[in-house]
């Protein structure tokens, strides 16, 4: 019997082919592109260390195949989309979206060699403007792509943010989502500025929070007493396996409003799909799903998103990141981007790291399930293909004590 490698926290960040976390990730559908950003030219993508090329053939079908032509290795990124597939620029081999070779122009017309060549290809599906791929085993019979409510719900409005690439390990980013404390400290502002954010995430009075395992992963729920005795203010964020974060608010919605505005409840789910390119960088795909009543919600949001606080830079300030007080995105990048990778980081965890501790445990358990040939948490059995996966997130006032 093959002995399984005993995995530890040190394994989590590394996602290459054959690594424990890499094999685990390959059990899930992962976002590899956005419908809006895929044009009539091939798009090279790096996913879990694999060099691939994403394209849409002339009939509109999506393909995700190995970037290097199986003939002599030229990059298909420079291929031509034509004749029912993508044609390698070098010697003209033509592949369809399934990686099947259709033509080799320099071979005799009766050659059966094309038929025998099947290039690496992965199944691809679209949902809510994002393109998902499955890089795991049993490709002819992959698990169902979960119907994420924020993407699949026909109600509401959706807005896709700009795709972003970050130059540090994906897990630094993920942990941040299970850590509401950083919100009260890294993003701290004047506690008396009258905003919801400064009142709730007051760094002089950090809210209590719980970290709770869920069927899809986990959530962290922070609470403060509400305007009435039977209500409470709540901020609830979730992590869904393998690498999805969802929050109920962003700095652009309730964040800077007075707390009274929160009584109307939370109507925007901000869902973030993290795809490791390799061990050193990841791509972030973010969708906002608004289910409130304002038909011009995103148009109204747009101007406020353009204004991001920029502290004045002192002439002697030579640091890589600009001073960032008030710019949530820059603040997060500066902290996560300077953390060493988990296994090379010295740490002293405190009680307020309970979210971080739980997210690590859930991922380790999922990797172990995969190693034991059980479906890890978040991978759906075929029978549940039609379920809608609703990830919990909330910002606002609600009845006390909801789970």
């Amino acid at each position: 019997m093959k002995r399984l490698k005993k995995i530890t926290l040190a394994d989590i960040p590394y996602v290459g082919l054959g690594t424990p976390a890499g094999e685990w990730f390959r059990r899930y559908w992962m976002v590899v592109g956005a419908t809006r950003d895929l044009y009539d030219i091939p798009q090279r993508v790096k996913v879990l260390g694999e060099e691939l090329v994403l394209f849409r053939d002339q009939r509109g079908e999506l393909g995700l195949i190995g970037n290097h032509c199986p003939h002599r290795g030229a990059s298909l990124e420079y291929g031509d989309i034509e004749d029912g597939g993508i044609r390698c620029p070098y010697h003209g081999w033509l592949f369809n979206v399934h990686g099947q070779c259709l033509e080799m122009p320099a071979e005799t017309r009766d050659s059966n060699f094309p038929r025998k060549v099947r290039h690496l290809s992965y199944p691809v599906q679209e949902q809510g403007g994002l393109i998902f791929a499955y890089l795991g085993p049993d490709q002819d019979n992959p698990p169902p792509l979960p119907k994420y409510k924020a993407l699949a719900d026909s109600a509401g409005q959706r807005s896709l943010e700009a795709t972003r690439v970050y130059d540090y390990n994906w897990f630094n980013f993920i942990e941040n989502g299970a850590d509401p404390v950083h919100f009260s400290t890294l993003h701290r502002a004047d506690p008396n500025d009258g905003t919801w954010r400064s009142w709730f995430f007051n760094y002089k009075d950090i809210p209590h929070f719980d970290a709770v395992e869920t069927p899809y992963g986990m959530k962290v729920v922070s609470r403060k007493p509400g305007p009435t005795a039977d209500t409470e203010y709540v901020d609830e964020k979730s992590f869904a396996l393998p690498s999805i974060l969802q929050i109920g608010d962003t700095e652009f919605t309730h964040f800077r409003q007075p707390r009274e505005a929160l009584s109307a409840g939370s109507h925007n789910a901000h869902i973030m799909f993290v795809t490791p390119n390799d061990d050193h960088s990841f791509t972030l795909f973010t969708v906002n799903h608004y289910t409130g009543s304002d038909p011009e919600f995103f148009q109204k949001l747009s101007p406020s998103r353009k204004i991001e606080a920029e502290a004045e830079k002192k002439p002697y300030d030579q640091r890589k990141y600009a001073p960032f007080r008030g710019n949530v995105r820059t603040e997060d990048i500066a902290c996560q981007g300077t953390q060493p990778v988990l296994d090379r980081r010295k740490e002293q965890l405190a009680t307020s790291d309970k979210g971080v501790i739980l997210i690590r445990k859930i991922i380790l358990n999922a990797i172990r399930s995969m190693q034991e040939n059980r479906a890890p948490k978040g991978v759906l059995p075929a029978g549940r293909a039609h379920d809608v996966v609703s990830i919990d997130s909330f910002t606002g006032v609600r009845a006390k004590g909801l789970a």
Copy 2:
């Protein structure tokens, strides 16, 4: 008896000191510079992984010596050419073109230490505007520098192109020369555009070709029926060991002319000398040798060479290389430059790769000859120093069935 390492294709790309291909390369004279580009300052060159400095002393003699001064390692690239040699900038040690130390200014005048210091140096010779060096064993008695017809022929006109440095393995470039199929596919154009190129290298009707071993290496000969029953259109390209390619045409001569113009035959040899700098980059020295009757051939060519087709770049096109349809140089770089190095490349070769298969075999045989202490193909015995090495290349119409 020392056992020889059993070499394979995986050894071909690697040229460092002590590697099989590195030792094999060192049996040949290699181009290390161009007369036109060597001025009154030292020129640092990297050849087969060795850091050297090329210079011409005040009497006009060429020297190629180790770049780091044998005294304390400062770079002779910043040396002064004076007093019969090159003087290290740091402590003034003076070396002649043979690496012999002539002066150490801070030692006593009667010191015999200068006499004892002989710095690494390699024999150098000029031919047809190029500077060749021999980095191999038995330096006092190197094999003769072959008289390449395109360089040594006193008839005809010569034109040296700009020296170019490429950032990928030299062998990706060389294989391309033994592969006429890429011409019909990578460089494909509208088959009806009326040019010789599109008619002959028609990707809907790729010409048959033969790959043939020759005394100096090999050639690939492509053929289509000629204007009369006893003639044929021919495109013939050669590879000469260790890393020379010669073609009978370029995109700037017959390439874009109507096929009728080809009847006048081929009068331009386009010879390319590839010098590996190391395993990751190489330098290309190219000479055109025209033996036709037009006294202004190169002047007339000049304007047409300045116009290279540039496809319009789409605003969403983020690829490293610009779209290249019609720009032969860019097309080639994009394909060769994206191929992984031979030993890390997955391949599936077809019958139309017979040129590539033959070039690999010829190089492997040459490396094995070297390992067995026989002169590898292309290294001339002393007795044949005066032979002219004529490399076959042709583009045009000629009598049927010539070898």
Copy 3:
């Protein structure tokens, strides 16, 4: 008994934690910053391979602590200086200059966890505008910071030059200081230009020099006959352990004056503190200490320092460094920066390398002392904390035969 590693010259350049030279360096106070350049934001510094952050707290006390927060590794370079220390931006942990954690905002107020967390910190002291740190063992009882005359002397005027970072190994720079020969050759000029420099460091008549061990390190003394029978022209430069150079002149003081001007003697000490950042780069902190009678010495110097000879660059000159004849700083960088690191450098030393040979021997002896648990040369015992360390340097005329 633990066997000590037998060290060789090859060990000198490498300064990481646990290496022989790294451990030796950690027995000395080293310059890690300049008072003038430390503002109200944290300053990241790399010293002997360690990533640290230097800051001054609100009371004016200096701290040098590990750059990565011991909690979860975020960079303290982006911390806030407030509340009696530096606060990590990520979760608000607060550290004082001794690395003691003072606050963890998200823990309960009665938690004793902050008290238990002591972050890496090193003792820091200021002297003459420079900030020194001690990275060695026994931190509560470090050896005294030597009172370097050029920094600590209350007489005279001081001028701190711009801090410079170089991208090569620190020892290439240090050896240069023990090598007066390079002065006569690398910095050679027209011997008849009428300057002191060209007359004394005449490369046709290089002065004799002695290399002499001193209590603090060594010095090299070059001599030529003086204007009278009982005098001599002298250039004296010193090396003090671990990595200090001091010269009696620079190109900006006597260097370009006629030799007669030298009769007034040498009144400027140019002291250079070299701090290895790691094995590949170092930082140079330079102070001039003038003890002559001109109250406007540095103001007068200022314009002449702005004019540095720049040879005209030839259009075909592609070298990394510009032609440098007459620019002492550029000349030195070009030579030292192109030398391979000592252990990867091929060398053939001559009699005129006696300064270089002695500096290596003195450093090896000092490393061995450290290995044998004796204080290496240059580390003062506690009882000599109030001694002034006077490093010898001189340029000019003085009585013959002074040691």
